[in-house]
């Protein structure tokens, strides 16, 4: 009996995997097109350089880092 159920479980998990392989890209495409697409257009309209790629009048790509808080407190966050 146990063998029988474990076989069903294996087949069910395999079907679940196939559904995941097919549906994940579909969901990702929907999110990409309907969230990231409009966000990209918004950034273009507002002329936002999200990735800080333009040089403007600056002499260098180097950025001075703010005086980082090196206390243990600053390390407690994942951000």
């Amino acid at each position: 009996m146990r063998n029988y159920f474990s076989k069903i479980f294996r087949y069910w998990m395999a079907v679940g995997h196939v559904i995941g392989v097919v549906m994940t890209p579909v969901h990702m495409l929907i999110v990409y097109v309907f969230v990231f697409g409009p966000a990209n257009m918004g950034a273009r309209v507002l002329r936002k350089d999200l990735l800080d790629r333009s040089m403007r009048d600056e002499p260098s790509f180097w950025r001075t880092k703010d005086a980082t808080d090196r206390s243990v407190d600053a390390l407690r966050h994942t951000f």
Partner: protein, 166 residues
């Protein structure tokens, strides 16, 4: 003070145990799993480090992770916005992984290790700099890090100051 450093979920997962600023043990997970550049959670390496140190997970004062996941995720999301529509292939591959695994790193660490203490998250390039400078013979040094990726930086420069305590 016992501190366990953990690197995982990118490439070459590893663990390192420090006691009062001295390296007690360090190992790459691939040495135990025989899987080159193993990126899985380094449970075997952690067990090895703790056993070399003669301590259990509850004896750790801190557990350190090598970057700040949320800052990196912010950079990734803004990159996908900035590079729309060319970045779908990468988006489709990376975002499910982030949602499933990388955004839950603190919870995963606790679940895998049973560790209940504090987890610290260092800046990616600061971690690189520290892993070179703090084990070097130099009292003081200029430091340059160059890496393909980090939170936002890919290259940093700075000074490792002289210090008398670890």
């Amino acid at each position: 003070m016992n501190i366990l450093g953990v690197s995982a979920f990118y490439h070459d997962s590893a663990a390192c145990l420090l006691r009062d600023g001295q390296v007690i043990a360090a190992a790459g997970e691939e040495r135990f799993t025989r899987k080159k550049h193993d990126q899985g959670f380094p449970m075997n390496a952690i067990r090895y480090c703790l056993s070399e140190g003669g301590i259990g997970i509850a004896d750790l004062d801190y557990l350190g992770f090598y970057d700040k996941p949320l800052v990196k995720f912010e950079r990734i999301l803004l990159t996908y916005i900035g590079t729309f529509p060319r970045s779908f292939r990468s988006f489709n591959k990376a975002v499910p992984l982030w949602l499933h695994q990388k955004l839950r790193i603190p919870a995963m660490i606790r679940k895998q290790t049973g560790y209940e203490g504090e987890i610290l998250f260092g800046d990616h390039h600061m971690s690189h700099a520290a892993s070179s400078f703090l084990v070097s013979p130099f009292e003081e040094a200029a430091i340059l890090t160059l890496d393909g990726v980090g939170e936002w930086s890919t290259a940093t420069q700075g000074v490792g100051p002289a210090t008398t305590s670890p």
